[in-house]
Amino acid sequence: MVKPKDKEKQEARRLRNEGWSYNQIAKELDISKSSAHNWCHDIELTPEQKTVNKERGIYYGDNNKGAITNKKRALEARKVYQSQGRLKARENNRLHITGCMMYWAEGAKYRRNIIIFANSDVEMIKVFAQFLRQELDVSDEQIKVKVHCHTTDADKIATIENYWLNLLGLPRDNLHKTQIVKSSGRSKNRLEYGVCTLTVQSTELLQHIYGAIQEYGNFTNEDWLY
C-alpha cells in the first residue's frame, strides 16, 4: 500500500539512515516530529551515529533501554502473529479467505493493533461479523460498533443504531457514540442507515489477518509489521 506523503517519507528514511535526528529531519522536510518518528522508528542507528547525536546534546541515554527492549519484544510478537495467520491461511478455509479478502479490500491497514472495518453494505458487515466470531473466536464484548450518519433527528438516530445492533445481535453496551457528520446540505449520496464501523482491539488478530492476506496474495508487505 502506498501511503500519503510518500515522498517525504522516503526522504525522511534516507536522512534517518544517514544518522539525522528526528528534530533535524522534521525541520528539514517541514513535517512534524511525530511523523518523522512514525516513519523511521524501525531504523537502527549505528553506534557512531548515536554518539554524534548524543554529543549534539540530544537526550539519548540508557534511560531508553527499557523502551528499546519493549519495542523489540512487540515486533517479535507481531511477527509470530503474522506467521500464525500464514499457517492458518494454508488450510484454505472458505470463510477465512472471505474475511481476509474483505479486510484487504475494505479494512483499515494503517494501524497495527486494532481491527477497523467500515461499510454501509448490510451483507458485508454481516459476513465480516460472522468471520470475526467463527474464525477468530472474537467474543461479543470485544466487538465495538460505531455508526456515522448525517441526520440530527434523535428518533432517526436511535432507529439507525438499533438497526445495526439488531443486525449484529449485540447489546447497546457495545455501541460507541454515534458520530453525526455535519452535512453541507449539498450531500447527494446520503445513505439510509449511515456507515457502520466494527472495531476489535487486538494486535494478535489484526496481525493474524495481515499474515493471512500476505499468504493468500503471495506477497510480503513489510509496512504492515511497523
Binding site: V2, D6, I97, M101, W104, A105, E192, G217, N218
Partner: protein, 223 residues
C-alpha cells in the same frame, strides 16, 4: 449506490403509476436518471393505451424495446446462474477474486472495472481474470489516474503497470492526468490503476458467484 434514498422514493412513486417527468421534478433528479432507476417496473395496460394514443409508432417501438429488455435480462440471469454453479465447487482463486471484486469493483451492469492502488491486489485480480475467464490482453484496458504532468513520470508509470501485470502492447492504456497541487497530501507513487473489461458475461458470473458464496440475494445487480 448513489442517492439511495431518492432512488427508493422514485421507485415507490413509479409503482403508484406516476409519470417519469413528474417523479423527476418531485425528487429533484434528472428525467434520465428516473428512467434508469425505474426501467424494470412494468407499465400497466392503461398507461400503455394513453401513451400509444398520441403516437401510433410508439407502441411498436415499445414492444420491441420490451422484447430486447426481456432477452437481456434473461441472458444476465443465465450468466449469474453459471457463476452460482461455479461457486459451488469453485477454486480458491475464484473465491478470492470474487470477494475482492465485491469490495473494490464497480457494480455496474456491463462494465467490469476493478480499481486499486495496491499493486499486489491488482496482480491477484489479474491472475483471477486470466486463469478463471481466459481473458486475453486485447480485451483489457487499463485506466491509470495520476497527479502529474511530467512526461518522464507518465511514461515510467505506464511502463510500471504494463510490466508489473505482464501485459503486452495489445492492451489499451488510458492515462488520466491532473496537475498536482502543493496542498495535496495523498500522493500515490504509481497512481491509481483500474482494470476494465467490457464483458457482461464475466461481470454477471462474478455477481452470481458472490451471492452464492455468501448466501444472499441482491436483485439490484440484475437490473
Amino acid at each position: 449506490m448513489a442517492k439511495p434514498i431518492k432512488r427508493k422514493k422514485a421507485r415507490e412513486l413509479r409503482r403508484k403509476r406516476w409519470k417519469i417527468t413528474d417523479i423527476a421534478s418531485k425528487v429533484d433528479v434528472r428525467r434520465e436518471t428516473v428512467s434508469k432507476w425505474c426501467q424494470d417496473i412494468e407499465l400497466t395496460d392503461e398507461q400503455i393505451k394513453v401513451l400509444a394514443k398520441d403516437n401510433p409508432r410508439w407502441l411498436i417501438l415499445h414492444e420491441a424495446a420490451q422484447q430486447t429488455k426481456r432477452e437481456a435480462l434473461h441472458q444476465r440471469l443465465a450468466y449469474q446462474e453459471a457463476g452460482r454453479q461455479r461457486a459451488v465447487d469453485g477454486s480458491i482463486l475464484h473465491l478470492k477474486g470474487c470477494i475482492l471484486y465485491w469490495g473494490e469493483g464497480a457494480k455496474s451492469r456491463n462494465h467490469l472495472r476493478f480499481t486499486n492502488t495496491d499493486p499486489h491486489m491488482i496482480k491477484l485480480f489479474m491472475q483471477f481474470l486470466r486463469e478463471e475467464f481466459q481473458v486475453t490482453d486485447d480485451v483489457i484496458y487499463l485506466h491509470i489516474m495520476h497527479h502529474t504532468i511530467e512526461e518522464d513520470e507518465i511514461d515510467a508509470i505506464e511502463q510500471y503497470w504494463l510490466h508489473w501485470l505482464d501485459l503486452s502492447a495489445e492492451c489499451t492504456v488510458k492515462m488520466q492526468l491532473k496537475k498536482g497541487t502543493k496542498s495535496r497530501k495523498t500522493h500515490y507513487e504509481n497512481g491509481i490503476c483500474a482494470i476494465c473489461v467490457n464483458n457482461t458475461e464475466i461481470l454477471h458470473h462474478i455477481y452470481g458467484a458472490i451471492q452464492e458464496y455468501l448466501g444472499f440475494d441482491n436483485p439490484d445487480w440484475l437490473k
